[in-house]
Symmetry: C2
Subunit: 170 residues, 2 copies
């Protein structure tokens, strides 16, 4: 995500544009998976590309299940945080706004289901694609895929729910 022009499938300027997570209020920007303020975290960045939301992520060398393959917990984390961003952006778009036009709604995970279709090789940048399949005020259902070098290796279904008031700081 250096901001330099990128190749195939990545629109010009995509990497340089602000991501959904960049619009989360500071209080909600500490997530290990996607918080821009979490220095130790994965800092996943998700952006609309047409009707899908896309993130690209390069696993660290230690993110392995066995040598050469990405561990499932990372894939679950990518799907999870990416789906939360997708939910927020989908609710905004449905309301006729792009994300960032107003305070971004914040979702948390109600349930997460990941099917691991085949081993995910360590090496290629992973692409996570998601689309909202049901958009309610309180609940959004998101379908996602994870692919490596153009091959889908995992598929996810995530139920995102509006963050409960009990999680907000007093």
């Amino acid at each position: 995500m250096s901001g330099t022009g990128t190749a195939k499938g990545t629109p010009a300027g995509h990497a340089a544009s602000r991501a959904i997570q960049d619009f989360y209020p500071d209080d909600f920007a500490h997530c290990y998976g996607c918080g821009r303020l979490n220095a130790h975290g994965l800092q996943i960045k998700s952006r609309w590309e047409g009707d899908e939301v896309v993130a690209r992520f390069s696993p660290r060398p230690e993110h392995i299940a066995i040598p050469g393959f990405v561990y499932g917990g990372l894939i679950a984390s990518l799907v999870d945080c990416h789906a939360m961003g997708t939910a927020a952006a989908a609710v905004e778009r449905k309301a006729g706004r792009e994300i960032g036009a107003g305070p971004a709604p914040r979702f948390v995970t109600g349930s997460l289901k990941v099917d691991y279709l085949k081993p995910t090789p360590l090496g290629p940048e992973l692409e996570i694609r998601a689309r909202p399949v049901e958009i309610g005020e309180r609940k959004v259902i998101v379908h996602a895929t994870v692919s490596a070098a153009g091959v889908v290796t995992a598929r996810g279904e995530v139920v995102a729910v509006r963050m409960p008031e009990t999680m907000r700081r007093g």
Copy 2:
């Protein structure tokens, strides 16, 4: 396991006894979630306690969704790796062996489903409990709970499948 006597709750010497993951062959001990040889990883340790397999884990300060609460990707990772260990131990026990008596079978995740029942507070040590609910040669289904300070905050169902030959190094 160690063969020392165990009791309900946290047995004396529990933490000191060898965990299921300690018996994985070196080649399979690099997992970010549970590999004893992954210096950066979570190093989850799972042990039989009666008919359940139990792990305890203290999230790091950065493992948050928002300040004060554990992020869902970590919970998914804990459930995932703990379930793989449970599957290996269950297959061995069903065959009349304790884990470590022979080469430990290695499972990978076929599918992972986590229901987030309520926010998981950061602070208390988390307890992950699992039990095998279906034990086949090739596939094991594991149910798990994650709790904090005695309150179950997440529930998981994991399908573990024998590691495919394609994941073994040549």
